[in-house]
Symmetry: none
Subunit: 182 residues, 4 copies
């Protein structure tokens, strides 16, 4: 059965998204992606030249926007923090599936450092904010993680279509931050 290239491409992307989200890059299997897209492996490789290329096709748009987010950061710590948190919410809304894929399992990929980087940027910004308020900066480490994983958990649950929960959660994490740290 002969089908349109674009339709097939969509089938691949769809099944790859599932597989990568479920197993991460390394344990995802091209075979199983192909077969759940009703296709032979050989044909899969007509569309994407290798596993990383296919992964990139899924993660790509998010990747670009993360980079542009990082390149436009304000200097001042507090506005940088707001800028980042708003940016995260935006990215998560527009690239739900990609975000989860990236943060779920990009180990073994050139994209891994993007995820790590984002983490690092948030952490450093938090540190700067804390320092400015004469508070222990070390707590920035777990707090950055907490924020990212908290947001991811919301994302996973699929229920927060409005984005209200994410707003509330971020508010919860940030409100009166200076007074909650030793």
């Amino acid at each position: 059965m002969q089908v349109l290239k674009e339709e097939v491409r969509q089938r691949i992307i769809k099944s790859a998204r599932r597989e990568f989200k479920k197993h991460g890059f390394e344990k995802a299997s091209m075979r199983s992606i192909a077969s759940s897209a009703n296709m032979t492996v050989g044909n899969l490789y007509r569309y994407y030249k290798n596993k990383e290329d296919l992964y990139g096709a899924i993660i790509g748009s998010l990747f670009d926007e993360i980079n542009s987010l990082k390149s436009n950061m304000p200097e001042e710590p507090e506005s940088r923090l707001n800028y980042l948190l708003d940016g995260f919410k935006e990215l998560q809304k527009d690239h739900r599936s990609e975000w989860l894929t990236l943060f779920g399992g990009s180990t073994g990929t050139k994209f891994q450092k993007v995820a790590d980087d984002l983490h690092g940027v948030l952490r450093d910004t938090l540190m700067d904010v804390l320092k400015k308020n004469d508070r222990r900066p070390e707590i920035a480490v777990p707090v950055a993680s907490a924020i990212i994983y908290g947001l991811n958990t919301i994302l996973k649950s699929e229920k927060d279509k409005s984005g209200d929960l994410a707003d509330d959660f971020l508010n919860y994490m940030m409100v009166d931050i200076a007074n909650r740290v030793a």
Copy 2:
């Protein structure tokens, strides 16, 4: 020869711990566990019938304590929350390596649900607390994640030997909780 056997078992456990923590369940290799325990694969399989069984032997003690923790929970939400958070700190201190193994890479294992369970218990308790204070309970979902991953991040960094940072972080997360939620 019971003595000898026990010594061998310890060697296996020790090297398996390292391997599982480093690579997670799926990417850990029985061959490399055996060889770094100065032992052949065949012999490894005399002690543990397969990879998951070995994984269980490592996660096991933590698993038991998690279960006992769960079976002694106080009824009242607020004391249950404190009970849990204290319990977590205790478990992380006593089973650092196992904890990281469990939460870092139990995908593909029957133990994954243990991690998920713990998550669920914390979430439900948070929900109960929030309900009692007439606050939106949904936020419990990301907050539970945030707590667990924040603690894990501290654990990973190896720097918090005293446990102070964990205390500060939990304080940060819990202080005035009722007033930070819509």
Copy 3:
């Protein structure tokens, strides 16, 4: 549309020649032949039913001339030898590319035996010449190889456009042959 077909066929031949010379039969790729002939694989297969068939189309003319060379050989050993050596030079000049393709990479092809055959004819002729002069005939075996590979090496280097080096080399190989053998 016979004209068009012929033009296409030429494009195929041209790009196949390059590919086969470069990689030999086994490592040559139909895909790459098609694409460097600005054409799809499917269409390639309309002109040549498989890889070996295409290979034959290239080797073909040389193949025919080799056969005609072989069928017109003089009886008398010494003139046969001259006839062959002259023929080789002629063939190499007129079918440089095909010759290198045939002797460079026909392994896995039914044409390999053509190359072997030519070798055999030269060897047998040399043997007859040696016998006639009461010399050890066995040396014909390495000498036939030496001649053919020596000529191929000249051909490969692309520098001998005049053919002088080939002449000198053959002279070197043949001069006073009877006195150089035990």
Copy 4:
């Protein structure tokens, strides 16, 4: 069926030798080596860590001796030529199969340059000799090829156990060299 490691290793080597000699490195198949050694691929990889490693196990000893041959060359052209030709004969006698494997198909291997090098050394030496006798040095190129392929042909034929034919052939190639070149 459980067998001694050494016996198995021999079976592998034997079947790899055949395969590599027949198809060269690139087209030789690990699968077919394994199966003609009555073995699974997995087991083959217990003995040799990859295809090149296995190839090296076959070619290795010859490789070493070639290197030692090259490092002890006399300065003076004519004695260097004799040294090389004697060396070749020696190596061919002691490493018949390896020699044919190396010169038959080492493309794609780190060993290829060894073969090419040897060729180059012989060619350069011939050139020096010719220059010293005021003869056209270009002919060294085909003559070096002729010598090597001639010797290989003798080797392939398996008939020259005494080495007499190789001696006669080299004599044939070298005798009165200065007077046979323009």
